[in-house]
Structures are given as structure tokens and as C-alpha cells.
């Protein structure tokens, strides 16, 4: 057999080098990303966080509106397996109140006479009902203590609400506001940036001016001013939507600017010229050729921006400018830590901080891995 040039046909040798040459861009990126250990770990951590958030109402023993005045500022409950050397399975002791002989502050202690087993997949108390994904009504919870017992894995706050439940339910807000905000930013930034970059001329000039004005506002104060404008009477769901809108309103110009400049530089590339000469319509040119050519870059950019949105939301809620109790976000939970006494006497209330910290860190590492991967030949 002879090919066109007269070269003998030969066995195709599968070599490492061939794979390196011919792999598609996305596969190369995936491979490079998998080699970034921290990024992989972070991705797994984030997946777990988001799964927990999605199944939040099921995992959390309490709903957002439940509270118990008897258990105010209760420290984290210890879960035991053995009672007097005998294996019972996971259980908690009852709680009794004592006064500290020196400070006279109320303190909780274990009442080792009472044993409450922890039941799994149990029906919750009254008030624990929820609609999963807003659709399926249920009162099934991952775990509950037996009638009369209380499990507060992370302790309670100053209204007697279970912090563990609140952290998990707060994740629904704190982890989804940034992502939804980012998606809105992506849509806004891509649309506006491509308009400016593709058409140029007066469209570009006007958009540029608008971008410049919005970018002139420092992020945090603008967030503060806009959130302060949210009426205090609004429902949590509406506040949630408004917060995402605010976050994306502040951050789209940055992305639009990047998209615009990418557009302008990519417009001069040969493959775009080739597509244009072969008669591709503008819409196809934009969506099939131009945007994909820098999409990986944009995705990395967006991932890297999520941490600042998480911190933004947390900060605003912390200041009381975003969501307010009984709505829950990690920032709302941290409001109590504003007082030094809280940290000194009830240090478990800092637990939500750990989650903010971990999720920001995980997003940063994942973004870092993605950025390295987006440049697979480097």
C-alpha cells in the first residue's frame, strides 16, 4: 500500500509522545489538572460542601426557624459510644444547668444518668418540616436524639438554635449566592464584552464609558451602599436574589473588559479570518469560534473570583447589611462573634469561620489548578 506521497504505510505506534501531540485541548487540561494534587483535593472538598448544602435540610436536625430558649449558648454536645464501659452505640447524655461558682454564669454539664440514643433517618420534631429542593415535603432527618435528648454538634447560639444546623443551612446561602452571582456576571460580562469587542465603534465607546464608571466604584463600599438599600422587610428569598444581583452588578465590568480585549485580539487571528472568509455568520463566529478560543481563560477567571464573592457576602451579612436573622448565612452566624466576650466564653461560635475559610481556600486552589491546566503546553 502506498500513500499519496509514495510513503509506505506503516504501523501506527502508540507512543507517549503521540498522545501528547494529538490529545484534544480539554483532555490535556483535564490531565494536567488531575496532576495538581491540591486542586483535586479542593475539588472533592467543594463537591462535598455543595452536596451537604443541597441535602442541607435533611442533614440538619433543626430548621431555620426552630429555637429552644432552654438551651441558650450551649456548648457542643459530645457524642459517646460507651456508657460505663458498655457499648451502646452513638448516644448523648442529658444536659443539666449549673452555675459557675466564681462567675455565676450558667453552664451546661452532662447528666450522665440520662442516656439518649441517636437515631438515624428519623422523623424530626415539630417545626423541622421542609420541602427538599422546594418541592418534596418531608420531615426526615439524618439523625435525631431520642425524645427528650438534644444533639448540638457545634453548640447553640444566644437564641438556643443549633449551630450545626445553621451552618449547614447557611451553606445553602453562602455557597450558592457567589455561584449564582458569578453565573449572572458571566452572562452579563460575556454579552456586553462581546458586543463591545465585536462591533467596536460607538457601541464600544459607550460600553467602555459605562465600564469605566462602574469600575470607578470601590467594590466593598459599593456593595455596602447597595445592600443598605435592601428594605429590611423583604423576604429572605428576595434578599437572596437581590444579593446575587448586587454582586454581579459590581463585578461584570471586570469580566466585560477582559472579554472585550480578548475579542479584539482574537479578531485578528488567522482562524477567525478563515472562518469569516468561508462565510460564517457573525453569531456563529462569536459563539462557535471566538468565545471558545478564550473560554478556558474566562472560566479560570470566574473561579478565581468566587472567593472574593464568598468573602463579600459573609462580610456584608456580618455587618448586618445583607441577610438578616432568621435567614441564615455564614456571615449572619458570625455576627455574634463581633463581641469579644462571645469569643472568650463561647468560642464554638467561631466554627462557621472554619467553613468560610475552607471554602475560600478550596476555591482558590481549584482556581490555581485550573489556571495551570488552562495552559497545557506550558
Amino acid at each position: 500500500m502506498k500513500t499519496k506521497n509514495g510513503t509506505p504505510a506503516r504501523k501506527v505506534q502508540e507512543k507517549k509522545s503521540d498522545k501528547y501531540y494529538y490529545a484534544s485541548q480539554w483532555r490535556l487540561m483535564a490531565r494536567k489538572f488531575r496532576r495538581h494534587k491540591l486542586a483535586m483535593v479542593s475539588t472533592v472538598v467543594l463537591l462535598i460542601f455543595y452536596l451537604i448544602a443541597i441535602f442541607g435540610n435533611f442533614i440538619a436536625p433543626q430548621g431555620t426557624e426552630q429555637y429552644e430558649g432552654r438551651y441558650v449558648n450551649c456548648p457542643p454536645t459530645r457524642v459517646h459510644l460507651f456508657h460505663e464501659g458498655k457499648l451502646i452505640g452513638p448516644f448523648v447524655y442529658g444536659l443539666k444547668t449549673e452555675r459557675d461558682p466564681v462567675t455565676y454564669m450558667a453552664q451546661f454539664a452532662e447528666n450522665t444518668e440520662k442516656i439518649y440514643r441517636i437515631r438515624f433517618f428519623a422523623q424530626g420534631d415539630e417545626g423541622g418540616e421542609y420541602r427538599w429542593l422546594g418541592l418534596f415535603p418531608s420531615n426526615l432527618h439524618l439523625f435525631e436524639a431520642e425524645e427528650g435528648g438534644r444533639v448540638f454538634l457545634f453548640g447553640t447560639d444566644n437564641m438556643g438554635r443549633d449551630l450545626f444546623s445553621r451552618v449547614i443551612l447557611g451553606a445553602q446561602i453562602s455557597l450558592f449566592i457567589p455561584v449564582v452571582g458569578m453565573l449572572m456576571t458571566l452572562v452579563l460580562g460575556l454579552a456586553i464584552g462581546s458586543l463591545a469587542g465585536y462591533f467596536g465603534g460607538w457601541v464600544d465607546t459607550v460600553i467602555q464609558r459605562v465600564i469605566e464608571v462602574v469600575r470607578s466604584f470601590p467594590q466593598v463600599p459599593l456593595w455596602m451602599a447597595l445592600s443598605a438599600a435592601i428594605p429590611k422587610t423583604m423576604k429572605p428569598a428576595q434578599v437572596f436574589m437581590l444579593m446575587t444581583v448586587i454582586l454581579s452588578l459590581v463585578s461584570w465590568p471586570g469580566l466585560a473588559r477582559v472579554v472585550r480585549s480578548k475579542f479584539i485580539s482574537v479578531k485578528k487571528e488567522d482562524f477567525i479570518m478563515a472562518a469569516r472568509i468561508s462565510g460564517a455568520p457573525a453569531s456563529k463566529l462569536i459563539t462557535r469560534h471566538m468565545i471558545p478560543s478564550f473560554l478556558s481563560y474566562i472560566i479560570v477567571d470566574m473561579t478565581m473570583a468566587i472567593p472574593s464573592l464568598i468573602i463579600g457576602e459573609t462580610t456584608l451579612s456580618f455587618l448586618g447589611l445583607g441577610l438578616r436573622s432568621p435567614a441564615t448565612s455564614w456571615g449572619v452566624l458570625l455576627q455574634e462573634t463581633n463581641k469579644l466576650e462571645t469569643i472568650m466564653f463561647y468560642n464554638w461560635k467561631l466554627i462557621p469561620m472554619l467553613f468560610v475559610f475552607l471554602s475560600v481556600l478550596a476555591f482558590n486552589f481549584m482556581g490555581d489548578g485550573l489556571r495551570d491546566a488552562a495552559d497545557p503546553y506550558k
Partner: protein
């Protein structure tokens, strides 16, 4: 000179008196990600004073790595082994591979005894300093007696020599104010300021317009006449080789596969790869309907190469039972003409 204190720590090497540079069995490994690229695989050649040796090959054949290894300026993920013997201006024979890369001896050789000009003159200068500043620097580095003023005067004189018009004005301009051809002239100027014995030219004309290319080559030839340096000319363009060189080494996948005088290589090429390269050159009298010859495929990456002819999978005359399966020895075609191809053995058998 104070710089020579390291030299006596070296073993003594012997070198043919007419040679100024001898590269012997040079290997260079590059660590990339988790691969080990064997970029240069046992290259040997030598350079006489005043001659021009062409190192020819496709991109990725190891010619640039070889030349940078001579200067000791490959990145840190490269490791070289073998011998690079060099006779200094003072007459000492050094094995450059044994010198500390950032050590005083090596640095005093670079730029003053062995110089190099690069493929992309536009990026070879820092954009933040004037041309004059960057040119005078090399004089100040290697001439302990030079002052700023004398270095400047020297640079001005050299700028005139390399044909830069209005050098008094040009000397204070920044690289972005120069055209590519002008920058290449400035680069040549810089690298010849200290009158080196060897100039390594790494594709000096690839990034330039055709008309400028000819000018630069002409400039190099005339400067060679004036200064008498040897040139290691690295290129993928056989046309310029014919113009510039005395000897030619054709490289493929980290090996020299054919070596000879320009005449031998162009008029009696033996290796199928060399023949392919020559056939792919456009010819003046060739009819325009005829398509240019193309060598199929691409240079493979030199990763985990078994002993074989590197070219076998692109070779029209590949002998499946031999070429992919063993090391290929050198065959001598005639004195000074060497080929690394099993066809020669066949030929030898047939003739013998």
C-alpha cells in the same frame, strides 16, 4: 588575568591544534513535566578557526539545544554530558561542561570569546533600557579598563560598522523604536564588540523579512572576514547554508545524521532525510504547477526512544527489519563525508 584561577582544577585535555572547538559525544536531557526528553543524543563535531559550520534541521531536532549547551545557557532543567573542548584566547584547552555555569571562567568566555545571536532580535533586548546601555554593558563586562565613555565610543564605532544609520541618535533609543532588522544588526554588533573567536548564530534571519535576511547574511560574512571568527550557523534553511557555510551537519532527532562539506552535502547527499530536505527546496527553474516535495509526518518527541534510526517512521526507504531495531553506526562515504544510515551498509555489501 584574575579570571583564570579556576582553570587548574580541570583535567588537561588534548585537542587537535587546528581546531578551536570540539564537541564530543554530547548528550542533553531535558526534564519536562514527568518526561525526560533526550534532546541531544551523542553529537560530535569540531570547528576550525575562521570556518563556518552549518547545523541544519527541522525545529525540535536539538540544534538550538546543542548550541546553547556550548555556551552553558540552557535552562536549569537541562543536563549535558560528554565533552565540549574549547581553546581559549589564552591558548588553554577547557572542557566547558566541567565549568560552573555561572562561574567566573565561563562568564568571561561568554560574550568575549564565544558569542551568540538569537532567532528573535525583538525579544533579545530588554525593553526598558536603551540600545546603547545594553550594548555598552558587554564592553564594560569584559574590558576591565573600559569606562562608560570609552564603551560608548566603542559601541558607536561598532554601530557604524554594522550599518546602522545615524548611530549617534540611535544609540539612545529604546528597542521598540528599532525595526527587526536593525535590532538584529544591533545584536550582532553587541556580540562582536569583544571580538570573539566563535559566533553562534541561532537562526539569525528566521524572524526577518527576506530582503533584510540577505543584508544580515552579507553583514555576517563581511564581519567574519574582518574579525576572522568562526561561525556556528544554525538554521533550517538550506539555501542560506549553501551561501554561508564551509561544512554542514544535518541533525535529526538529536543526532547528526550526515556531515560533510557544502559541496558533498548538496551534490552527493546520502541520507534519505538530507535528500528529502534538498528536494523540498523550491528551485528557480521549477514549473509552478509542480508541488513542492513534503517529508511526511512530524519529528517525534525524543521520549523513551529505543535504539533505532530516528527517521525510520518517516523514511521512504525504511528497512523494517533493521532500521527501527538497532543503533545506526556512522559510515564514511568519502574522506570528510559521514552518514548515519543503514542503506550505506547495504550499498557497501552490494558493492563489496
Amino acid at each position: 588575568m584574575k579570571r583564570t584561577h579556576r582553570e587548574h582544577t580541570q583535567a588537561t585535555y588534548e585537542m587537535s591544534p587546528e581546531h578551536i572547538l570540539e564537541v564530543k559525544d554530547l548528550h542533553v536531557h531535558i526534564a519536562v513535566d514527568d518526561y525526560d526528553l533526550h534532546a541531544v543524543r551523542g553529537v560530535s563535531f569540531s570547528l576550525k578557526k575562521g570556518e563556518t559550520l552549518g547545523l541544519v534541521g527541522e525545529s525540535g531536532c536539538g540544534k538550538s539545544v546543542t548550541s546553547k549547551e556550548i555556551l552553558g545557557i540552557n535552562p536549569n532543567n537541562c543536563t549535558g554530558s560528554g565533552q565540549i573542548l574549547y581553546r581559549t584566547k589564552a591558548g588553554k584547552v577547557l572542557n566547558l561542561l566541567e565549568l560552573s555555569r555561572d562561574g567566573e571562567t565561563y562568564r568571561s568566555i561568554r560574550g568575549s570569546e564565544i558569542s551568540m545571536i538569537f532567532q528573535e532580535p525583538m525579544t533579545a533586548f530588554s525593553p526598558l533600557y536603551t540600545i546603547g546601555n545594553q550594548l555598552a554593558e558587554i564592553v564594560l563586562l569584559h574590558d576591565p579598563k573600559a569606562t562608560k565613555a570609552s564603551a560608548r565610543a566603542h559601541v558607536l564605532e561598532m554601530l557604524k560598522k554594522v550599518g546602522i544609520a545615524n548611530p549617534e541618535k540611535r544609540i539612545d533609543q529604546y528597542p521598540h523604536e528599532f525595526s527587526g532588522g536593525m535590532l538584529q544588526r544591533a545584536l550582532i554588533d553587541m556580540m562582536l564588540c569583544c571580538n570573539p573567536d566563535i559566533l553562534i548564530a541561532d537562526e539569525p534571519t528566521t524572524a526577518l523579512d527576506v530582503t533584510i535576511q540577505a543584508q544580515i547574511l552579507e553583514l555576517m560574512r563581511s564581519l567574519q572576514k574582518e574579525f576572522g571568527m568562526s561561525i556556528l550557523f544554525i538554521t533550517h534553511d538550506l539555501g542560506t547554508v549553501a551561501n554561508m557555510c564551509d561544512h554542514v551537519a544535518v541533525m535529526y532527532l538529536g543526532e547528526i545524521i550526515e556531515f560533510g562539506t557544502v559541496h558533498q552535502i548538496f551534490h552527493n547527499p546520502q541520507h534519505p532525510y538530507t535528500r528529502g530536505l534538498l528536494r523540498s527546496l523550491p528551485k528557480m527553474n521549477q514549473s509552478r504547477e509542480k508541488k513542492l516535495y513534503i517529508i511526511d509526518g512530524v519529528v517525534p518527541l525524543p521520549v523513551e526512544l529505543p535504539p533505532c534510526c530516528g527517521f525510520h517512521d518517516r523514511c521512504e526507504a525504511c528497512m523494517d527489519d533493521v532500521c527501527p531495531k538497532r543503533d545506526i553506526p556512522e559510515f564514511t562515504v568519502e574522506p570528510g563525508h559521514m552518514v548515519r544510515c543503514m542503506l550505506m551498509e547495504q550499498g557497501a555489501r552490494k558493492h563489496g
